[in-house]
Amino acid sequence: MSNFEFNHDIDMAWCPGCGNFPLRNILIKALTELQLDPTQVVFSSGIGQAAKMPQYVDASYFNGLHGRGLAVASAISAVNPKLTVIAEGGDGDMYGEGGNHLIHNIRRNPHLVHIVHNNMVYGLTKGQASPTSPIGLVTPLQLDGVYNQPINPMALALAMGATFVARGFSGDQEKTKELIKAAILHNGYAIIDIFHPCVTYNKVNTFAWYKSHTFWLDEAHPKTNKEAAMKLALDEERLACGILYQVEGKAYPQRHPFYQGNLTPFYQRKRDPKDIAKLFNKPKAHS
């Protein structure tokens, strides 16, 4: 058994057949294969079925508010840049309620992995439309079908300047696991949107639907080419899986003037009371 495997006797709160189960396997495998020390891995999640993931992996976590997992994750990685930080949640959590943190953290380029379980529906609250629900999907709140244009998270991330943009599918476990590993190894913000079926509430985007609408990028895809990536991202008929785009970039610890190359975790940084007395005597800066 891997370090991350949860050995407590727990009844996972997902429905039988849910795509979250294979995603959990993938995740644990990815972490294990990278031989990460579980005490140095932290999850930050919001609320939703996807956001329950950290409950079932043995590592530290901050299971906070719906939509806010990325904001919390960004601060955690700022305060201890040596941790492996994973922000994880559902499409509603991360693209709906949390949309503003998404766009502004791409700008910030924190050193973390952002995993979004995209089942194109709100699972935990019983089947309403999510920002990725396809037009026409009938839900309890959209009795005549969804009418809003779904969000295109890949195109959005590219437009915002993300340096690692990838898509996976819980039905393709081996490949998706490799995406997670690549994302963890990437310097800076890495987003992986992972398709997975919600067997209870989404009868349109089923396992079979994902199988027939997705394809995996091969070695030939020039993943440092933004135009090519954008073209793939904007194609909503044939959904590309794999790393659409990856380039080197300066991540937050290299950008923010605070660090100056010193990545010491904050809990190890101590303030000397002697320095404080200087405060009073320091001449005031004038406005």
């Binding site: 005490t39 955690i76 605070f258």
Partner: protein, 561 residues
């Protein structure tokens, strides 16, 4: 006997009122008691702003409504101040600025611009005005010149010389002014330092160990963040401008969770957006320090003015029930104490702690002899985790020891759902009750750490005046000048939780009067709720201004008829 002169400067945003204010206050604070405060419009340039500098022979921390000496910076600088004039007020300014002054008032033309030019540059006019005022009130030339020199040193010798000359020209004229006020020199005085509320809060935050700040700009909460950015290199503080206030507090919680001492600062409207995260701090027992700088609402309200109307918001922010602590500084030095204490208490009790200030307190300049920095407040309560660490263990201390991820062999599992000792989601009814009891039990533990109110005035404790936060100075001055009212003043720096020790005084009092800078009496309500008593009288003000001493005395006198 307490005497004071109130000098007011009035002009447009950008005309340099603040420079003259700083020159004056920094000079005077070395030789007498002084207090200053500004009122500004919500715009970047133009409009009309004013600064009041009050000089006294006794300690002072309050404004006066009526003006003794008024300096106009332009031709539309008077209108808003008309109600504050008296037959004794003398109005100074360039000839064209005085044209609009109604004939019943005394005016005095001074050509500051010419003085500036004479000294070499029209830009020195404000320094000439500074000189004039210094001359009028007999400030020390030596001190004044040292300050001018320090201020302009970097800009080269010529500019220093020119400004000094402008000062001299002004000073000589002011000194000869036959209408200049009587000089108010205290008999004993040791030089002090003049600082704003923002200054001391930023010092307090450093003294409390702040090393992470996430906030979104909002007046009057932004300045604290700016001052911490200025200190960030000296003290290793990571300052992060968040995308919105929701992010700000969530980031602050993430930062504490990961081992930082983190702060956010905002005003009422921005804080409203943080209330969900306050509740998150509550259930996850993640510390947070939140500075809420009050300004008048509702909504955008009067963005650059003052009020004390967000006490309720801060008291009850967040869904569900959990402990919190709220401080509201009154004296200047309280700012250091409460801000550094806030970090300590947040860490110790694993709760959100609020510093509730207001525009008036933050932006006024008052004096201190020295500041105490209590090194205890830097003490960290973080523990190194063992392999079997449980974040929410039922500890005999009543508080579950807090670890941070990456420090030790354990996992730190924190949950916004109701959880078990390990931090896993639970739906057990009994666990729910145990966890809720554990959190609420901190109210009991906190009792030994409550700051008692400042008590002054009559020792009879029959007729009480209760107040909180920024009204301290003005109420003290009113009581000081009216001992015949025989009032006992209880001023609260910690406004929540309130001390049980006062139950006696409060329930035995004949009358209870509460003075607040809001429209409904929020603190009075808190007193009624906490002690189960009736407040007899609420003195309230809510036009966007702080209390003025003369106005407060009138209001209080009316209650003593």
């Amino acid at each position: 006997m307490r005497e004071s002169i109130s000098i007011v400067l009035s002009g447009e945003a950008g005309q340099g009122l603040q420079t003259v204010e700083e020159f004056l206050v920094e000079t005077l604070t070395q030789e007498t008691y002084v207090f200053s405060s500004k009122e500004v419009m919500s715009r970047v340039r133009g409009g009309n702003n004013s600064v009041e500098i009050r000089v006294s022979n006794q300690p002072i921390q309050a404004l006066r409504y009526t003006i003794d000496v008024l300096f106009l910076f332009n031709d539309h600088a008077l209108e808003r101040l008309l109600p504050r004039l008296t037959p004794q007020t003398i109005i100074y300014g360039e000839a064209p600025f005085l044209k609009s002054v109604p004939s019943q008032y005394k005016t005095k033309e001074v050509a500051f611009l010419d003085l500036g030019k004479q000294a070499g540059n029209r830009l020195y006019e404000n320094t000439a005005m500074f000189g004039y005022i210094a001359g009028m009130i007999g400030a020390s030339v030596e001190n004044a010149k040292a300050i001018i020199t320090k201020r302009f040193n970097k800009r080269g010798e010529d500019i220093v010389t020119g400004n000094l000359k402008a000062f001299d020209l002004g000073y000589d004229l002011g000194r000869q002014d036959p209408d200049r006020p009587k000089e108010l020199k205290p008999t004993h005085f040791s030089p002090k330092k003049a600082l704003t509320g923002n200054d001391v809060l930023s010092m307090g935050a450093v003294a409390g160990g702040v090393n992470y700040v996430a906030a979104y700009p909002m007046s009057p909460g932004t300045t604290l963040m700016t001052l911490l950015e200025e200190k960030s290199r000296d003290f290793e503080i990571l300052v992060e401008q968040a995308e919105d206030e929701i992010a700000a507090l969530n980031m602050v919680l993430g930062a504490w969770y990961a081992g930082a001492r983190a702060l956010t600062t905002t005003s009422g409207g921005g804080f409203a957006l943080m209330t969900e995260a306050v509740s998150l701090s509550g259930i996850t027992e993640t510390p947070a320090v939140i500075h809420v700088a009050q300004r008048p609402g509702p909504a955008t309200g009067l963005p650059t003015r003052t009020e004390q109307a967000d006490l309720n918001l801060v008291l009850y922010a967040g869904h569900g029930e959990f402990p919190r602590m709220i401080f509201a500084p009154g004296r200047l030095e309280d700012g250091v104490e409460v801000m550094s204490r806030a970090f300590y208490m947040a860490d110790k009790y694993q709760i959100p702690v609020f510093v509730l200030s207001d525009q008036y307190w933050l932006e006024s300049m008052s004096q201190v002899d020295a500041l105490d920095f209590n090194p205890k407040y830097l003490e960290s309560f973080v523990v190194e985790t063992k392999r079997d660490y449980q974040r929410y263990a039922f500890d005999k201390s009543g508080i579950s020891p807090r670890g941070v991820p990456g420090f030790g062999l354990g996992y730190v599992k924190v949950d916004s759902d109701e959880h078990d000792e390990a931090g896993g989601i639970t739906e057990s009814f009994t666990m729910r009750v145990s966890m809720q009891d554990k959190r609420l039990h901190k109210f009991d533990l906190m009792k030994k750490d409550i700051m008692e109110p400042l008590i002054s005035g009559s020792t009879k404790h029959e007729n009480l005046v209760l107040s909180w936060g920024s009204t301290y100075g003005v109420i003290e001055e009113a009581l000081d000048t009216h001992p015949e009212w025989d009032l006992t003043h209880l001023h609260f720096i910690q406004v929540y939780p309130l001390p049980e020790s006062l139950k006696d005084i409060i329930s035995k009092a004949k009358t209870i009067q509460v003075i607040e800078n809001n429209a409904t009496g929020q603190f009075a309500n808190l007193i009624q709720m906490t002690y189960g008593v009736k407040v007899n009288q609420r003195i309230l003000k809510y036009n966007g201004e702080p209390y003025h001493i003369d106005e407060l005395i009138t209001k209080m006198e009316a209650t003593h008829e």
